[in-house]
């Protein structure tokens, strides 16, 4: 039972990072029906910006020697820098790689997205090299015990940042003028233009927000795992994409839920015991994590392509 609860906590923490990245996939798909394959790499850039900020700007070596105020300033500035730079990167990518293809066949922007993804990974590889890079601790690690479950302060920060961003995004999209414009463009671009909505601008803002959230995701990822690698965005991006599909692509709440579910599943799969299985199957749950997640992706695509929360509303003509 203790192990089970512990895995739930771990699943929720990593799952909330998947959720943050999944939001960007689902927002972009919702508004221009493009799977932005470069989105995971924007997240990766967020981890790099965070790493650069703490090591090159704040010259962090040992966080336990920092004052509390200094540490808070570092965390906030680093997080904001990651959000801002990723947001601008998202807008830039949209402008140069997707907007010129707005009226092209759907495959064209998809290929363009893969190209951007590869380009970002190679840029990252040129900067940090091909191997994982360790980051110093961004906060002195503190363990808390709730009953028999162990939870760290970084876990709590990840959960809080994710929660705040998700609630904020949900509010933005459902209750503000720009959020309404985003939904209008998603539902009927031409009709939205006829309401006076500058469609190009709204699409750019969607990329801005989605990429900014991925930047925050990159920051909390670095905070909780203390390392990054040039292709982390590819792997984590696939999980986040699966989460977005699981929740119902285009659906924000679905992406949040999907991320948590994928995180939980990946954590709980490690329950598979580390002993010999028939047919020489790999043993140890970790070996099964990816297989289970992508099996889920396939099953959803086959049996419920609209995902958990996605629904087709009969539209009257």
């Amino acid at each position: 039972m203790t192990l089970f609860l512990q895995l739930i906590v771990e699943g929720l923490v990593i799952g909330s990072i998947y959720s943050l990245v999944a939001l960007g996939y689902t927002m972009v798909y919702g508004i221009i029906e493009l799977i932005n394959f470069a989105h995971g790499d924007i997240f990766m850039m967020g981890t790099l910006v965070s790493l650069f900020m703490v090591t090159n700007v704040f010259h962090l070596t040992d966080v336990s020697k920092m004052s509390l105020g200094g540490m808070l300033v570092m965390l906030i500035v680093t997080c904001l820098a990651s959000i801002v730079i990723c947001a601008l990167l998202g807008v830039l990518i949209e402008r140069i790689a997707y907007r010129p293809l707005r009226n092209a066949p759907r495959l064209a922007p998809l290929i363009s997205a893969i190209g951007v993804s590869l380009a970002l990974e190679d840029i990252a590889k040129a900067i940090i090299g091909p191997n994982p890079v360790a980051a110093p601790y961004l906060v002195p690690l503190v363990h808390y015990s709730i009953g028999s479950v162990d939870i760290t302060n970084t876990d709590i920060i990840v959960l809080v940042v994710a929660l705040v961003l998700m609630v904020g995004l949900q509010w933005l999209v459902t209750s503000t003028r720009i959020g309404r414009a985003m939904r209008a463009v998603a539902q009927d671009r031409e009709a939205a233009a006829l309401m006076g909505v500058n469609v190009d601008r709204v699409i750019a803002i969607t990329f801005l927000i989605g990429a900014g959230i991925a930047g925050a995701g990159g920051f909390v990822f670095l905070l909780s795992t203390n390392n990054t690698v040039f292709n982390i965005g590819f792997e984590l991006g696939l999980f986040a994409f699966t989460a977005a599909v699981l929740g119902g692509i285009g659906n924000l709440v679905g992406a949040m839920l999907g991320g948590l579910v994928i995180g939980l599943i990946r954590a709980l799969v490690t329950y598979i015991p580390d002993r010999d299985l028939p047919f020489g199957l790999p043993h140890g749950g970790v070996a099964w994590q990816d297989a289970v997640v992508f099996a889920i992706l396939i099953l959803i695509l086959v049996f419920r392509p609209t995902g958990l929360l996605g629904q087709q509303l009969a539209e009257k003509v």
Partner: protein, 239 residues
């Protein structure tokens, strides 16, 4: 006579290599109801799309209130006080009725005035008022048409263009729609109407144009058009 609000001069529109509109010349004056009649595929909707910048004319000029609009994006054009009730209504199906109306007022910022206009359109369309919280996609076809009109009014337009507002509606609803059009005009909004339902459209319009395979073949007062042999044969089912 009142001044010209909307003017199309020598407009040619193409879809790829195919010319859809040929040398369209028409004008709508302040306070008028003008209708554009034509059969399916005559180019009525293309005319509307060309006016609103959703399709670019290859040649010709379009002016609204003396300002050239044929090279501007739709979102700019509607800010000048021109609103469109598009073909097939094009409401936002997964938004509530209220949100649809708020989208109609997207270009405006004065909250008090928007509230005032919201009350006003609820008064014109009582059915809309009952359904403000409902998801728009679940409305009936007639209600969706009312909503599309209400949404267009929320921008407080000086001129409203309507593309086949009677399409797919029962005769009773068609009558309601046309009564509403007259009411909207009486409140000072100029109306440009594209219709297949020629008898209805001509009964309330001041003037009309007849479009055939992308060319304007007739233009006259509505009363004269109702008597015109070509119109009677082609659009009124008469002999």
């Amino acid at each position: 006579m009142n001044e010209v609000m909307l003017q199309l001069e020598h407009v040619d529109t193409f879809y790829g290599p195919i010319q859809v509109l040929h040398d369209i010349n028409l004008e709508v004056r302040r306070g008028e109801i003008v209708c554009l009649l034509g059969a399916n595929a005559a180019g009525k909707t293309t005319t509307m799309k060309t006016i609103f910048g959703l399709v670019r004319p290859r040649r010709g000029r379009i002016t609204f209130d003396g300002q050239r609009i044929d090279n501007r994006p739709a979102s700019d054009i509607v800010r000048l006080g021109l609103a469109l009730v598009p073909e097939a209504r094009r409401i936002f199906p997964r938004m509530t009725v209220l949100e649809n109306l708020q989208m109609g007022a997207y270009t405006r910022t004065n909250k008090a005035e928007i509230e005032q206009d919201l009350d006003h359109v609820c008064q014109i369309f009582p059915r809309i008022k009952e359904r403000l919280k409902q998801i728009a996609g679940t409305l009936s076809g007639g209600e969706q048409q009312m909503l599309a009109m209400a949404r267009a009014l929320m921008s407080r337009p000086r001129m409203m263009c309507m593309d086949e507002p009677s399409m797919g509606l029962s005769p009773l609803l068609v009558e309601t729609v046309f009564e509403t059009i007259v009411r909207i005009r009486s409140e000072g909004v100029t109306i440009f109407l594209v219709e297949q339902n020629a008898s209805m459209a001509l009964s309330l319009a001041d003037r009309g144009y007849v479009l055939q395979t992308g060319k304007i073949v007739l233009s006259d007062t509505a009363a004269n058009l109702l008597q015109n042999d070509l119109v009677r044969q082609a659009y009124l089912g008469g002999s």
